[in-house]
Amino acid sequence: MSLSDCLGLMDRRAVLALGGTAAAAALVGPAGATDLYGPKPTGAKTGGTLNMGLLVEPPGLDPFHQAADARIRLTVLIYQGLFYESPDGQAMPLLAEGFDLSADRLVYTVRLRKGVKFHTGQAMTAKDVAYSYNYIRDPKNGSPGAGDFGMVQSVEAVDDATVKITISAPNAALPMTLGNKYGGVVPAGYFDAADAKTKLNQASVGTGPFKLAEFKPNSNATLVRNPDYWEPGVPYLDRINFVFVPNGASLLVGLRNKRVDIATLTRPQDVRQVEGVAGLVVERSPSFNQKAIDLGAELKPLDDERVRRAIALAVDKDEIMRASIGGLGKVIGTMVAGMQDSWGVPLDKLPNQKLDIEAARKLLAEAGHANGFDLTLTSIIGYDWMDAAAVTLREQLGKVGIRLTIQRVELGVWVKNFQSKQMGFTFNDWATVPDPNLLFYRHFHKAPEGADFRNWKNDEASRLLDEGRVENDPAKRREIYHRYQQVMATSVPTIMLFSADHVVVRNDKVRNYVQHPTGWYYGLARAWLA
């Protein structure tokens, strides 16, 4: 069953119930266990080892200090938070059973799931939850998740099964924040030991369906079934062997020769090399990933909105997508493909999305650049799609007189520029979890509340982002984010180009694997081997 099938099975209205944990004293119902991690399979067999090929090796498995997406993909199977980020944007109770929200929407009283044990064997209590979230939200502990938890004022254990979370202002995205990316729960006091951080690469202390058995750099990471997992009968696989394969050619050969049972491709177009191979199944699904062009307003003439709009009007997104990933994705406007249905404004309702060379030239002339100007585009070495996209973009911008020089930099250099808000004109590639607040706020809200990496400094956008964060009514919230996207599309701090599809290639003996649009491997918890 593909992801789109899975989405079809879920109640679309449930999407809008997000945040609709809403109004005052709302109550989340019993855990939606049927949908956690994907659809429940019929006729599933238990046992077996699944070999999954990974093209990007996780640099480490520490869910508290390591932000790399390659880490998160795996560790969501090991560590769990209070909520689960369902593919359609619902924060579903995971280690929580439900919560009550105070009338002023500032206090969440969370009831914990019973019978949850850590991989160490000890029972999980509210103290562990309070400890983990207090650890992560204290920036002095060096967690990349600290920013997401900035609105949390306190986390207290009321009794063994109840946690009280107090926030400084209403925040509809809080449940989504308490997920698994950074919201994992570990035993209280875990980080007191000096070697605690490094030990996370050798033994897991989470509550997830799988436990870490082995992590060998440049070779493999092996997870084994957690026999004490709180949901009976899950997971189905005895063992998952993640094999780190450093290049696409070896991975494709491995898939053909059954050395690898399943893999997601980082270059979607590589799928053409295995299409039609007997015994292999290919599945495509929308993602929360976005390939974008950022326009840092610290760089002249990008500080002029007319220039940014002209660039947007000169870009043919579809052509760039076809050149860089063979068209295996979706052109986007202001929202990633996986969230377009739930949160996105239709592309034809947004300004500056359609190619219009004449309008672009006119805008440039108005801005005093009738003869165009020179501009440097930064792309990142190792991100294959950027090379073809850069050449295509140079051709496109050349038509309005913008002479593009392509500069390829190493990721470390790029990250440094980004963090210091000196990004200039650059390609970007990032993913999000299914909530517009988590997608937009930190990136685009004015400092100091947001990081405003593109130096956009847009008052109206910041006001709308504040409103969207506070609003709990799903319909009103959607309306606010629609208005925000209009502002964004008009002012163009970034041009979202497209979301590359997740392309999963699997042996047909692998059943019921559903790819989560984040790219994380939740689906392995419900996959089984025929």
Partner: protein, 314 residues
């Protein structure tokens, strides 16, 4: 000999320390750091500062270096910043894979390249020589990643077989290890065999051109005797030097081959450590590479003396 060895070893230690300074400075001069990599695009400045302090990156570079050196002399290479495992163990296990790759490749390349070079040299200008020279030319012109890729894809297409993607040491299973290592070794060995063959051919041709060899042939000494008694001895020393160079070249080529065939060797470890800015692993790994290069040079010099006692060691 003993005094020479002691002198060379002392010089090697000084070189290794100097190399460690260069390595340390080079590693630190790469833009970005482990904290940027760990925290990603949207990190919190306070969190970044905290992690920087945790890793000691807030200290001046010279202080970081001295601290590192003090630990290294007690054989404490620290812990990997990203993988949390002891650096020494990581480098040691990766080195085992790379050395197996390098030495077996050396043996295979020598076994193919030297006979080919000798035959080409003896039959200089004839069709056999031209055939071997064509092989040499192709081997030298083709990049190692291309040879590896062609072997991988070609073998897979022809036999529906590819090497396992998870490394197994020879101690665990020799057969499994060989099935993993065969294609990577062959990829590297084909290139190096061509280099060998070309080098040996030139040496043989040049040795056959020497007056005393021509005299021996003119006197009716059989070519076989002339070859083993005069020519082979003449090319032995340059061949040893060449072997040293080849070994170091193989270690360089291993970076690419290890990445192509998913071997957990030193080259791949260094590459991934550069990407994550895992300084302790990088420093230890690069230092090991420097030490290996020095040991190979030393071994070559000592072999000179063993093969030709006229060579004076000083």
């Amino acid at each position: 000999m003993g005094a020479y060895l002691a002198k060379r070893l002392a010089a090697s230690i000084v070189t290794a320390v100097l190399a460690s300074v260069v390595v340390f400075l080079l590693v630190r001069s790469v833009p970005g750091d482990v904290v940027g990599q760990m925290l990603g695009q949207t990190s919190d400045p306070v969190a970044a500062k905290a992690l920087r302090e945790f890793f000691g990156l807030d200290q001046p570079v010279w202080q970081q270096y001295l601290g590192w050196l003090a630990r290294v002399v007690t054989a404490d290479f620290g812990t990997s910043w990203t993988r949390g495992q002891p650096v020494l163990g990581m480098v040691w296990s990766a080195l085992g894979v790379t050395l197996q790759l390098a030495f077996v490749t050396l043996v295979v390349a020598t076994s193919i390249g030297v006979p080919l070079g000798v035959v080409a040299g003896i039959y200089e200008g004839r069709w056999l020589d031209r055939l071997i020279q064509t092989f040499n030319l192709l081997g030298l012109a083709a990049p190692v990643f291309w040879i590896g890729l062609m072997l991988l894809v070609g073998v897979s297409a022809a036999f529906d077989w590819s090497p396992p993607l998870m490394y197994v040491s020879p101690a665990e299973s020799l057969a499994e290890n060989l099935s993993i290592m065969a294609l990577p070794i062959l990829s590297l060995a084909l290139l190096q065999a061509a280099a060998y063959s070309q080098f040996v051919r030139q040496s043989v041709v040049s040795a056959f051109g020497q007056d005393y060899v021509r005299t021996a042939i003119a006197k009716g000494v059989p070519t076989r005797i002339v070859f083993f008694k005069h020519v082979l001895r003449n090319i032995a020393i340059p061949l040893i030097t060449f072997m040293g160079l080849i070994l170091i070249q193989i270690l360089g080529g291993a970076v690419i081959i290890e990445s192509l065939f998913a071997l957990p060797g030193l080259g791949r470890l260094l590459l991934s450590s550069i990407e994550t800015r895992d300084y302790p692993v990088l420093q230890a790994g690069l230092l090991v590479v420097v030490v290996i290069a020095m040991l190979v040079n030393l071994a070559v010099d000592l072999l000179y003396r063993i093969i030709d006692p006229r060579v004076r060691l000083s």
